[in-house]
């Protein structure tokens, strides 16, 4: 609703597919409105680039309402940008001032190889999930939904953890590039529910082992992950994952 647009200077990481590294390229976008989303501002840039015959900046995005977990970039040094509890697509340009210079980098971690420009490969998360992020049961064998009473407190705790969208910002923000928050959210969710009980020990050991195999770093309890998490997943889940892990290890 602002009448006058802002001018925003961007330093965007450009990296060709298959290249070992890339570099920052400077761009300027004019007539940026406060109510535009950050990605809409990049859309405008891309329109201009295509009109000039240049290749558009590639960035992953899909739902543009903060739930699919597809988008993600580091804006001026912070994963998902300066507004807490938001994904990149939820950032509005009202967070910035006329004349600002913003740096835009991909999520960086060895297990998240850069594919092109700001697009990274997060398939490591899928492989971790495949090691135990499920309840082993086939369609058809479920008892009535009310067969297991689950206290509201436990259901709420499970939901807090289950809210994870798998965007990878926790890894991107972690000084050690650890995936502890992501992995713990799934382990923690299932540990609050009776359905997850039979596979508890096995699940935590297997998912942690896969997380390590993928080459993620170890968690040093800095808590940067929680600060950038769009769904505000608490690091209490990391503590819970460790408890589950120790229990699993001791039971063999």
């Amino acid at each position: 609703m602002s009448d006058k647009g802002m001018t925003i200077h961007l330093k965007i990481w450009r990296q060709a597919r298959g290249a070992a590294s890339g570099k920052f390229v400077d761009y300027t976008v004019k007539n940026v409105l406060a109510e535009m989303s950050f990605l809409e501002m990049l859309d405008i840039l891309n329109e201009e680039l295509v009109q000039k015959g240049e290749e558009a900046v590639e960035f992953d995005n899909d739902c543009r309402e903060g739930i699919c977990g597809t988008c993600g970039m580091v804006i001026s040094g912070v994963a998902h940008g300066p507004y807490a509890a938001s994904t990149t697509c939820e950032i509005r340009m009202r967070q910035f001032k006329d004349g600002d210079t913003l740096t835009v980098e991909p999520f960086r971690a060895k297990p998240f190889p850069i594919i092109k420009d700001l697009v990274v490969d997060r398939s490591a998360f899928d492989r971790i999930q495949q090691e135990g992020g499920f309840v082993t049961m086939n369609v058809g064998s479920a008892p009535d939904g009310n067969a297991f009473p689950i206290s509201k407190e436990h259901a709420d705790k499970a939901m807090d953890a289950a809210a994870c969208i798998g965007c990878g910002a926790c890894v991107a923000a972690c000084p050690n590039a650890s995936a502890a928050l992501f992995v713990s959210a799934k382990i923690s969710q299932l540990s609050w529910l009776p359905q997850g009980e039979p596979e508890r020990g096995r699940r935590s050991l297997a998912m942690v082992a896969q997380m390590d195999d993928e080459g993620f770093g170890d968690c040093s309890n800095h808590g940067e992950c929680e600060a950038v998490c769009p769904k505000e997943i608490s690091i209490e889940n990391i503590a819970r994952m460790r408890r589950e892990f120790v229990k699993g290890a001791l039971k063999g």
Binding site: S21, V74, E105, D218, N221, A227, R242
Partner: protein, 228 residues
């Protein structure tokens, strides 16, 4: 689901080791500080306290204790260096060109970021400390040795600085140990971090007043009556 690497040396295992050994080391420094405070009662009491420790189990206790402490230190250091140095470097080979702290709910502080530096400084200090006061004492009793060590201003200042480093280390290390062992949740975490601040301050101040006190009041020529 094959076993992949060792459970104890997994990313979580290493944190559990760091946390357990950290708690043990914190227990040790609490006892150490209480023992040291006998200095404020007087030289005789301090020396007697040292002799008492040496006498437990006919002197075998101290040796056994030292061996155990050595391994606790060793595991703490190796696990922590792997977490915060080698694994960390492997996990992000190309770093950010522009990075800043997220702020908000982050618990990243000067203290958490400097764990590896403060830890290494403390480790070096501990080696020197043992050499100076244990392996090669400059005087015939512990009080005189301590007093002798802190006559010089530069060593005193160095020790004070290291104790501030210890405080920084504990500021993060205290609550982090509980978090690493899984003994934390949203209710206890804020309490633990506040207790960590108080604990770190108490330990740092407790330990740094000793060199300052000894620098100004210590008597390197003190001898125990009865000929030690």
């Amino acid at each position: 689901m094959a076993e992949k690497g060792s459970v104890a040396w997994s990313s979580v295992g290493k944190k559990v080791i760091t946390g357990l050994t950290g708690l043990a080391l914190m227990g040790f420094i609490i006892a150490h500080l209480i023992g040291n405070l006998t200095l404020f009662i007087g030289p005789h009491e301090f020396v007697a306290y040292g002799e008492f420790l040496e006498s437990i189990l006919f002197g075998k206790f101290v040796i056994a204790f030292e061996v155990v402490m050595f391994f606790i230190f060793l595991f703490h250091i190796v696990a922590a260096v792997t977490v915060a140095w080698t694994d960390k470097r492997k996990a992000r080979t190309e770093g950010y060109r522009y990075a800043k702290n997220a702020g908000g709910k982050s618990r990243k502080t000067l203290s958490s970021r400097s764990m590896i530096v403060t830890g290494i400084l403390i480790a070096i200090f501990v080696v020197g400390h043992i050499y100076l006061f244990k392996i090669s004492p400059s005087k015939e009793n512990l009080y005189a040795t301590v007093a002798d060590a802190f006559t010089g201003l530069s060593f005193t200042i160095f020790t004070v600085v290291v104790m501030i480093m210890l405080g920084l280390h504990l500021r993060h290390g205290f609550w982090s140990a509980f978090q690493s062992l899984g003994w934390a949740n949203d209710k206890y975490l804020p309490v633990l971090t506040r207790v960590a601040l108080v604990f770190a301050l108490l330990m740092a101040v407790g330990f740094l007043v000793i060199p300052v006190f000894m620098h100004f009041t210590g008597d390197p020529s003190f001898t125990m009556p009865g000929g030690h």
